[in-house]
């Protein structure tokens, strides 16, 4: 079960999110994360969906998405050169001697501490899926109290001149 990042351009109209989400639930596909926001072009929104599935399922997901009348374009970024980032906030237990170690981890991953109290810190992290997973696994031993992730956004890389 491979992880796939799918980018979908849709007509920004009422119900379009419902159509996409309903497709996934109705056909038993799984949505791991979903991100939606308007683009520069008026009336067009960009969704980034991450999902897990084999190639047959992915092919169906792509085709079914494309079949939705208000979907303009569907791209699979799994095999292409694309940049992918997501952002998360981690509220982590941070007492006494632990604080130094947490701050070192924050530094290594180039995260930011955006809120701090006597016994907690909120860490802001940006990165691809694997990086955020790594940060979570390292912070887990301090005690994660709350976690909020945005889901991925992705974009195809520009063609290099040597390509």
């Amino acid at each position: 079960m491979q992880r796939h990042v799918i980018s979908v351009l849709v007509e920004n109209e009422p119900g379009v999110l419902s159509r996409v989400v309903g497709l996934f639930s109705g056909r038993g596909f799984n949505i791991h994360s979903l991100n939606v926001a308007p683009t520069l072009e008026e009336g067009v929104s960009h969704m980034t969906i991450t999902t897990f599935g084999d190639s047959v399922i992915l092919e169906q997901i792509m085709k079914q998405l494309h079949k939705i009348v208000t979907v303009i374009k569907v791209m699979d970024y799994t095999e292409t050169h694309a940049v992918e980032r997501e952002m998360m906030f981690v509220k982590v237990q941070a007492e006494g001697p632990m604080r130094g170690e947490i701050l070192r981890t924050v530094e290594i991953f180039r995260c930011k501490v955006i809120d701090v109290s006597h016994n907690e810190m909120i860490i802001e992290a940006t990165g691809d899926y694997e990086k955020l997973e790594a940060i979570i696994s390292l912070l887990q031993r301090f005690g994660i109290k709350e976690l909020a992730r945005t889901g991925s956004v992705a974009m195809r890389r520009s063609k290099k001149q040597t390509d």
């Binding site: 849709v10 419902s18 085709k63 009348v69």
Partner: protein, 564 residues
């Protein structure tokens, strides 16, 4: 010119070529109904239940190839259309359903007769709309019809709030229509056509499998032309019946769970299976891993999602069935010239003919009772096949598919994908409205008919001489058959012993009623009933526990058939 929403709706329907509008009024659509009498060229047919309106529009669409249209009110009017819409969706039938809605300001407030019909029908329509701006109404209707009939056809729903119907705006009809997010592929890929021709050149045991898409794209002639030129035997799915003449020598019979022995065996043994406009329903394939195991599979379909959804495909061909079949014909003609296909395929054709001869569709005749299959055969004999036949769902549907020799497209109207009991009778009403002079027969089971029996009122009110032939076994026959075969004869809740007197019931509505309970009466009474200009119920008392054979049990391979 400033029009109200109601006027825009009716004017737009006319511009889209709608001649018959099936509907049922109610609070939210009163303004539309107020306008209807001023548009006599748009014939409104008042049904007795909104489900009947959708099925009738569906039957009209299947029989004519045009877009069917219906109009209902909000809330329960709208929810009553859902089964009909889902039926059309499963069988890719072009129709536009207009539902009334509470005024825009009340939407979301749980108003009287409010329901989120756009939300409810999202997964069973090709697309749907809630019109919130009257200036978009004409465009929305234009788009709805365009979507319904183009690409892979399907039902489209338009939800019209009452204030939009009452509002006024300038009526501008958008002549040109295009949608950046919707561009169905009609033209098949040339390389894939060439690959198909190559496979045809190599094949020893080729078979054509045609589905409803062949009928939809008016490709029956192209199919017949290609099959007869290349001397390749043909089978159809239930939805495809009529796409190839069942009287032709290359005809194998229907494929699938209740398919013909020769058809199922031919598919299993084939080395090339050219499928057109079929989506490999589980009732067609049987066990997927044993479906055409040795065949190169060519799959023509206008909907890319159909390809490789259920069955692995060697040559995917996205495009219109008609254009694709013509493309294959042209390439084969250029590539193989005057190759003698009859000689090349002689061995294979012999084999399938032997199968047809050794295990034809059959049933045991009886002196004591009427066999349901016999009724269908008699109907075929009496009409010479020149009739539009609709069915409900169940045993009678399969017997009709097996024993009525359909030779022309759009002559069998049946709910294939969703399997909707209650479809056939209202669909027959729709077909009869489209073809007032044709013989239209609804073959029904006694259980199915009772699901939309109220539409007899519609038939009588509009002088529609639909003939309902009831194969009456006082059971839900198909469910009973499964209970007999797979549930130890435990006939749980399938007996329909308590039933109305269908003859008297027909008469009570002002229609004609006939009962046939002996074999001698079958032909003469059917003949008499078919010739009456009135709608009629013909209640044929048939053998109670007759089963449909051949039968591929659920989950078994196509060649593992239970035979008579």
């Amino acid at each position: 010119m400033h029009y109200t929403g109601a006027q825009i709706l009716l004017e737009s329907l006319k511009r889209e070529g709608v001649e018959v509008l099936f509907g049922y009024p109610g609070g939210a659509v009163l303004d539309i109904y107020d306008e209807i009498p001023r548009h006599p060229e748009l014939r409104h047919i008042l049904v007795r239940h909104e489900q009947g309106a959708v099925h009738a529009a569906d039957g009209y669409a299947r029989a004519t190839g045009k877009v069917g249209a219906c109009l209902v009110t909000s809330g329960p009017g709208a929810t009553n259309t859902v089964t009909g819409i889902a039926t059309a969706y499963c069988d890719s039938i072009p129709l536009v359903a207009v539902t009334g809605q509470v005024p825009t300001a009340l939407i979301g407030n749980d108003a009287f007769q409010e329901v989120d019909i756009v939300g409810i029908t999202r997964p069973c329509t090709k697309h749907n709309y809630l019109v919130k701006d009257i200036r978009k109404l004409a465009l929305t209707i234009r788009q709805a019809f365009y979507l319904a009939k183009s690409g892979r056809p399907g039902p489209v729903l338009i939800d019209l709030p009452k204030d939009i119907v009452q509002a006024k705006t300038e009526f501008v009809w958008p002549e040109h229509i295009s949608m950046r997010s919707y561009n169905p592929t009609y033209k098949p890929n040339l390389n894939q056509l060439r690959r198909t021709a190559e496979e045809i050149g190599k094949a020893q045991k080729p078979v054509f499998l045609a589905g409803g898409g062949v009928i939809m794209s008016n490709a029956a002639e192209s199919l017949a032309d290609l099959a007869q030129t290349l001397q390749i035997p043909v089978t159809c799915t239930l939805m495809g019946l009529g796409a190839y003449p069942a009287t032709d020598a290359l005809w194998l019979g229907m494929v699938g769970m209740h398919g013909a022995y020769a058809a199922n065996l031919a598919i299993t043994s084939s080395d090339l299976l050219i499928c057109a406009g079929t989506r490999f329903d589980d009732r067609v394939t049987g066990k997927i891993s044993a479906f055409a195991p040795n065949a190169c599979i060519v799959h023509i379909d206008i909907d890319p999602t159909s390809i490789r959804k259920n069955v692995g495909v060697d040559v995917p061909l996205v495009g219109d069935c008609n254009l694709s079949l013509q493309g294959i014909r042209d390439i084969c003609a250029a590539k193989f010239g005057s190759r003698n296909w009859a000689e090349d395929h002689a061995g294979w054709l012999n084999t399938v003919r032997e199968w047809k001869k050794s295990k034809p569709l059959a049933y045991h005749h009886s002196n004591d009772s009427i066999k349901p299959q016999q009724v269908i055969e008699t109907l075929f004999e009496l009409t010479g096949g020149d009739a539009i036949v609709t069915t409900e769902v169940g045993q009678h549907q399969m017997w009709t598919a097996q024993f009525f020799m359909f030779t022309k497209p759009r002559t069998l109207l049946t709910s294939g994908g969703l399997g909707t009991m209650g479809y056939g009778f209202p669909a027959a009403i729709g077909a009869q409205l489209a073809f007032p002079d044709k013989t239209v027969i609804a073959v029904a089971g006694d259980a199915s008919l009772q699901m939309n029996i109220q539409e007899l009122g519609t038939a009588v009110a509009n002088n529609l001489p639909v003939k309902v032939v009831i194969l009456n076994n006082r059971y839900m026959g198909m469910v009973r058959q499964w209970q007999e075969l797979f549930y130890n004869n435990n006939y749980s809740a399938t007996s329909m012993e308590a039933q109305p007197d269908f003859v008297k019931l027909a008469q009570a509505y002002g229609a004609e009623g006939y009962r046939i309970d002996s074999s001698e009466n079958l032909l003469p009474v059917l003949k008499q009933a078919l010739s009456t200009p009135a709608p009629a119920f013909i209640d044929v008392v048939v053998e109670r526990e007759e089963n449909v054979y051949p039968m591929v049990p659920g989950g078994a391979a196509l060649d593992e058939m239970l035979l008579v």
